[in-house]
């Protein structure tokens, strides 16, 4: 536990997790690194107990192996060499997920591997546009460009309050007002004026955690009535998939856009359910694939790549862009005569994306390019594209859908996302990387404080003393003409407060942070906690698991107890190369390669349990059970952890679903009760506990799942005209 814990609110007062400052606001520094409260010394004390011996007890990694890796990392980091950390959801899907990534940040800062070629921390993200869907977010707590969503909990009811709370005095976020006001101009066009706070009040306010897992419970409990599920299949791939499905029974309506039938849209006839008792009205809309539409996806290194439409969508299929544009137009028409102030945001919504091409326009096709150009931003008066976010203003004279994407379409004819010029270094002509086409963030750090490359071999961005500007193989992530010798200017605003040797321009002080000042709920420095459902007691602390993890103790979300003898094995999940989910399970080539759900177990456990390779086994938790074929494999190895227990691990690919596809099978989603980390509400799906037995599970009998009492709306639609058609449109 850290200081500041409040046992009543079950949270930390994080105000003391901060840096000491001088009277002028600058950081107190001890260049000798001797002061006991110097961050490095705080860090040393905190991690003193994290010895190689402790690593072995906690992780099961033999000390010798661990030291080999540590030495390799240290040897491969320095002036001549850099090391990159690449991670995926194996790090994030934990109740301590954020702290895993934080640990990598500390190591990389100490090793000098940030902002340099071949260094950094790479999130290997899962879906083709998962980075883009974070930058231009469909995430409850964000607006485009990482602007926070207004929250009633933070009293952000007015634009003034929002700006006061989120504009920082120093660092790049001093520019925040330009970005939010330009976004509001992009959303509401001429209706957004200085007099009405640029329609800030149109934006809805958060009142809590509206992320997907709490929303699933809200659906089950009857708050959510209508649900859009687009290109995602939580009925199979969701954690506690049965909870997701039973929650959808409470909906009045479900709209799903996809290419194939899937476990989500067909939840109403899943194993054990009785459709005649399920009142949800379900729409499946056929989606267009990537080959059937124009548009841009942002890959995992922040590179935007435009794709051209290759063929016309097959059948009635339409792009998601088409559907959203169409729905917006229909809603504008439905609300056209409304005088109710609540409907103004829809009526004032800037919603003109008709295609440039006459034939496409006639087919109702919106223009992805027009949307991308809005994301880039333009000058309101003449509609001309802005060249980049430096041109954005806070007075309503510019509109911009996503400030970090500003520069992708910098004039009337250029679309950099379509660039396809590669070279042997950072390929700045291939696609376009946000921000400002920088391929490596914080690349000022690739030069020493004086501005010279750390080595010839790792030369990347440097100060050209003749021309008095930053130059190199990448777009400098630093003011182009700011001399490395520029002293810090306490009291100046934005990055003018930073010195010429401070690379981390987004941070208040321009420096990397080994210690996180107040931004995270659970720890200013990473601490090891066992997963919520673990096979051992925490060898490091009396505190077993993250004191701030969120759990839902309910009958439909049952957890294994910590260190539960009924569930003695470690359960982990992962994905396989040949499968994604519903996007692959109907493809014959891939179904031949990976036809069916399986689990991996070690040979020792197989002998102990009498499980033959290829035979069916049933894996169970307090929540539920699933069956799969056993793959007895030396890849899985028993661990010696905790007080010396020998623990078996069971690994399950998270790709399958049992209802549809050529490749199918049970999903570990049936085993995993929902719990989340306190910072970003990521669930825990990588480290759990389970039991295993030979043989198949018992099938759920038809109608064995108790259907909920239908809502009034469901009864009205179901009992009225056939399929409730007239009842709906005329109300």
């Amino acid at each position: 536990m850290f200081s500041g814990w409040n046992d009543e609110t079950k949270s930390y007062d994080t105000s003391n997790w901060n840096f000491e400052r001088n009277d002028d606001g600058t950081l107190r520094r001890d260049e000798t690194l001797q002061h006991p409260r110097c961050v490095l010394n705080v860090l040393r004390r905190h991690f003193a107990r994290y010895t190689p011996e402790m690593v072995e007890r906690v992780c099961g990694t033999p000390q010798k192996e661990f030291l080999k890796i540590a030495e390799l990392l240290a040897r491969n980091s320095g002036r001549e060499r850099t090391t990159a950390f690449a991670y995926a959801v194996g790090w994030t899907q934990h109740t301590t997920g954020v702290q895993f990534v934080r640990t990598a940040a500390i190591l990389q800062l100490l090793l000098g591997n940030i902002g340099r070629p071949g260094g950094g921390i790479m999130a290997l993200r899962g879906h083709a546009n998962i980075q883009g869907a974070t930058d231009v977010p469909t995430l409850y707590d964000l607006l485009p460009g990482y602007l926070p969503m207004p929250s009633a909990l933070r009293d952000e009811g007015s634009l003034e309050r929002y700006l006061a709370r989120n504009t920082k005095a120093t660092g790049w976020w001093a520019n925040m007002p330009k970005y939010i006001i330009s976004l509001l101009k992009a959303f509401y066009g001429d209706a957004a004026t200085a007099e009405n706070d640029f329609c800030y009040g149109y934006l809805p306010q958060l009142i809590g955690d509206h992320s997907v897992l709490p929303t699933t419970f809200a659906m089950k409990d009857g708050t959510v009535k209508g649900y859009f599920v687009i290109g995602q299949n939580p009925g199979a791939s969701g954690q506690n998939a049965e909870l997701v499905s039973s929650a959808m029974e409470r909906l009045d309506w479900l709209v799903n856009i996809d290419f194939f039938d899937n476990e989500t849209v067909s939840f109403w006839h899943r194993e054990g359910a009785d459709p005649t008792k399920i009142g949800t009205e379900v729409f499946f809309l056929p989606g267009a694939t990537v080959l059937e539409k124009d548009g841009t996806m942002t890959q995992t290194s922040r590179v935007l790549q435009w794709h051209d439409k290759a063929i016309e969508p097959i059948g009635d299929s339409k792009s998601d862009l088409w559907y959203f544009y169409d729905l917006g137009k229909r809603l504008k028409a439905l609300y056209a005569d409304s005088q109710d102030p609540k409907d103004r945001p829809i009526l004032d919504l800037a919603w003109e994306y008709d295609h440039e091409d006459e034939r496409e326009r006639a087919a109702g096709e919106p223009s992805a390019l027009r949307v991308l150009r809005e994301l880039n931003g333009f000058t309101v008066a003449d509609g001309k594209q802005v060249a980049g976010f430096a041109d954005l203003a806070a007075d309503g004279s510019t509109a911009c859908g996503c400030w970090i994407y500003s520069g992708v379409c910098p004039d009337e004819t250029t679309n950099h996302a379509r660039g396809r010029i590669a070279d042997a270094r950072s390929s700045p002509g291939w696609g376009w990387a946000w921000p400002a086409n920088r391929r490596t963030l914080y690349n000022r750090a690739s030069a020493d404080p004086a501005g010279n490359p750390w080595s010839e071999r790792k030369k990347y961005v440097w100060w050209d003393a003749q021309k008095r500007e930053w130059t190199g193989y990448d777009v400098p992530d630093f003011p182009k003409a700011k001399d490395p010798a520029t002293p810090a200017r306490p009291g100046a605003s934005g990055i003018d407060a930073h010195s010429g040797a401070d690379p981390f321009i987004m941070n208040l002080d321009g420096r990397g942070q080994l210690f996180v000042a107040g931004a995270l709920a659970d720890a200013p420095m990473p601490a090891h906690y066992e997963p919520l459902q673990s096979v051992i007691e925490n060898p490091l602390y009396a505190q077993q698991s993250n004191p701030l993890l969120r759990e839902w103790k309910r009958d439909d979300n049952r957890y294994n107890r910590a260190v539960d003898p009924d569930y003695p094995y470690v359960l982990t999940t992962y994905r396989i190369t040949e499968m994604s989910g519903i996007m692959t399970r109907y493809i014959p080539w891939l179904a031949e390669l990976q036809p069916e759900a399986f689990c991996e177990i070690d040979p020792e456990l197989a002998v102990e349990k009498g499980i033959a390779n290829g035979s069916y086994v049933t894996i169970s938790t307090a929540l539920g059970e699933m069956e799969a074929r056993a793959l007895v494999s030396g890849r899985m190895q028993p661990l010696r952890i905790g007080k010396g227990q020998r623990v078996h691990q069971i690994g399950i690919p998270y790709n399958y679903g049992r209802m549809v596809g050529f490749a199918r099978g049970d999903s570990p989603g049936d085993l995993i009760a929902l719990s989340t980390d306190p910072n970003v509400s990521i669930h825990e799906a990588k480290s759990l506990t389970c039991s295993i037995r030979p043989g198949r599970r018992a099938a759920r009998a038809a109608g064995s799942i108790e259907a909920p009492v239908p809502t009034a709306q469901q009864r009205a639609y179901g009992a009225g005209a056939p399929h409730g058609i007239d009842a709906g449109t005329n109300r």
Partner: protein, 191 residues
């Protein structure tokens, strides 16, 4: 600017050309049959459209080959790409089968409350009905104030998904949902 290509595979220069097989391979006669020599790739002469793999986030560049009638012939890795240099993983190699697939649902499927079967429906009918249901749910659940604070939102509608479709599509979905007052907007990035 001169175009430079990374050619790890060595195939890039031959792409799209009718490189004929020679009579000799080094010092030895080429034993390929006349038929082999006359064979042409299926994609020979087809239009190559630059696209991106829709599976993981690496962002492998692809070339979709389309014939004159607008028919998709094949999808292959783009050798010009600095990201994948022409290579694709098993999933990426199977993109063709995701689009051209007789199990794909290319019409609206509708399931009425308490019904036991799907029905196929006209697209326009479904869109009109969905818009009406959205309005109805929004109007019934919209809240202007909670505890004296303006909130202007609805908790009655939620949206899930975004990581599998483009940034322009995410933008329009977010813009529309926020303007409806929807706050429970989520995608795979949190999952």
């Amino acid at each position: 600017m001169a175009k430079t290509t990374i050619d790890i595979t060595g195939l890039a220069s031959a792409r799209g050309t009718r490189a004929s097989l020679g009579e000799r391979i080094g010092e030895l006669p080429n034993v390929a049959s006349q038929r082999t020599k006359q064979l042409r790739a299926r994609i020979d002469g087809a239009k190559a459209v630059t696209s991106v793999c829709p599976y993981c986030a690496v962002g492998c560049s692809t070339l979709a080959y389309v014939d004159d009638s607008g028919k998709l012939l094949d999808v292959e890795g783009n050798p010009d790409s600095p990201i994948n240099a022409g290579h694709l993983c098993p999933k990426g190699s199977a993109i063709f089968g995701m689009t051209v697939n007789d199990r794909r649902w290319t019409t609206v499927h509708y399931r009425a409350p308490f019904a036991t079967e799907w029905e196929e429906k006209p697209l326009a009918w479904a869109l009109e009905r969905i818009a009406a249901r959205v309005k109805e749910t929004r109007d019934a659940t919209f809240v202007r104030e909670r505890d004296g604070k303006r909130v202007n939102h609805t908790l009655g509608i939620a949206s899930l998904g975004g990581a599998t479709f483009g940034i322009e599509e995410n933008y329009l979905l977010g813009k529309l949902m926020h303007s409806l007052g929807v706050v429970a907007i989520e995608n795979q990035a949190r999952i």
